[in-house]
């Protein structure tokens, strides 16, 4: 785990994979469903809902965002950054790509 932190990995995940990355940093491409003061609710590329704890929601104005953050529970992430991904994103393509990046064939490329 310390090795992961040294290399500053933040694997791309969908909601189903969050449980495998408790306490680690991930990237979650998602659609913003609901914005609250300290938390937003998003839909991950596999359709699962995830709660994202945020510092400030002023930076979130895109429909789709990529949350970089630390996994707290299997459905909660504490955001370190939210990157705007625009108003149009093919979530099936995103999800298929994410699943491929976890394929053992590409282990040396993504982990």
């Amino acid at each position: 785990m310390s090795d992961d932190q040294d290399r500053q990995l933040s694997p791309r995940v969908n909601s189903a994979q969050l449980a495998n990355y408790l306490g680690k940093n991930v990237r979650l491409a998602c659609k913003v469903l609901n914005i609250d003061v300290t938390q937003i609710v998003v839909e991950a590329s596999d359709g699962g809902q995830v709660n994202v704890q945020i510092q400030s929601h002023s930076e979130i104005d895109d429909t789709y965002i990529e949350v970089v953050g630390k996994v707290q529970t299997p459905d909660t992430i504490r955001a370190l950054a939210c990157i705007g991904m625009g108003s149009d994103l093919d979530m099936k393509l995103v999800n298929d790509t994410i699943i491929l990046t976890h394929d053992p064939r590409f282990k040396t490329m993504f982990s």
Binding site: R7, Q8, L9, S10, P11, R12, R27, Y64, V68, A81, I83, M85, G86, L89, D90, L93, V94, T97, L100, T101, R105, F106, T108, M109, F110, S111
Partner: protein
């Protein structure tokens, strides 16, 4: 693209880059190979670039044994340091961090407005891999913001495609070759080379079924398609008798790939 002039011998040189195409074959005469690869451009993840090794500070970089020429990466800008002579971008693509450095020439005209390349945004950089001390960085020849987020995922898929092609060979030449050669005859072989793109959608079929589809396509200028007997004569061989062909045709029909035309014995390919 005028900055990508004809490359000098040294591919680390700022204007020695550009060029197109990927390294096609890992086998070849080493001396020629070097200059070919040096001029080639390959998409990478940052994690791959951090694994790259070189024998000495002047040698070519290698990733898992493959020589590296010019590289292109897509990453999120973590930090920007703008210095008088160069700009340094720290990039993160989820697989690692790397610096990308852009030298500012006095005559340099940067077509990209500064505010488009800002922290937190995704950008694509292209250039040569260099090292300074223990640190490695990409010496930027081209830099631009990602304006459509799909490009981030395109890049990931492209890195995977290129990786598989380089480590396992092209999908259309590797596994398929022997079958086409063995049963196809020259007309099919010619056909497949001319219409490789049209055949792409059938590349997931087993070789035997694919050769049937390939044959029908090569003959199908008539709407009524091809008689099963003609297919059998063209494809048939000792191990592929008429029963196998009719069974394969039935399965192809169930899969919606072929259909019967004027009667139950004539087949054509759905398009």
């Amino acid at each position: 693209m005028s900055q990508f002039g004809s490359g000098g011998g040294n591919f680390y040189n700022n204007n020695g880059g550009g060029g197109g195409g990927f390294e096609t074959s890992p086998f070849g005469s080493p001396s020629r190979q070097k200059s070919d690869v040096a001029q080639s451009l390959r998409p990478f993840t940052i994690g791959q670039l951090q694994q790259a090794t070189q024998l000495h500070s002047d040698a070519e970089w290698r990733v898992e044994g493959q020589e590296v020429g010019q590289v292109t990466v897509v990453g999120q800008v973590v930090s920007i340091q703008r210095q008088p002579t160069n700009h340094v971008f720290q990039l993160d693509d989820g697989t690692g961090l790397i610096e990308a450095r852009r030298w500012i020439a006095s005559t340099d005209e940067d077509g990209t407005p500064k505010d488009e390349i800002a922290e937190q945004r995704y950008i694509r950089v292209t250039g040569g891999l260099k090292s300074f001390g223990k640190k490695r960085y990409v010496n930027i020849t081209s830099i631009r913001p990602i304006s459509n987020s799909h490009e981030i995922y395109f890049h990931l898929l492209e890195t995977m495609t290129v990786y598989l092609t380089l480590t396992r060979g092209s999908p259309h030449k590797g596994a398929d070759g022997p079958v086409v050669k063995g049963e196809g005859g020259s007309s099919i072989a010619n056909y497949s080379s001319q219409n490789a793109a049209a055949m792409e959608q059938f590349s997931n079929l087993p070789a035997f079924k694919r050769s049937i589809v390939q044959y029908i396509l090569s003959q199908a200028t008539r709407e009524e398609g091809i008689h099963v007997g003609v297919i059998a004569r063209a494809i048939g061989s000792s191990e592929a008798d008429a029963n196998q062909i009719s069974q394969a045709l039935d399965e192809l029909m169930d899969e919606g790939i072929v259909f019967t035309t004027i009667d139950d014995s004539h087949f054509n390919v759905s398009t």
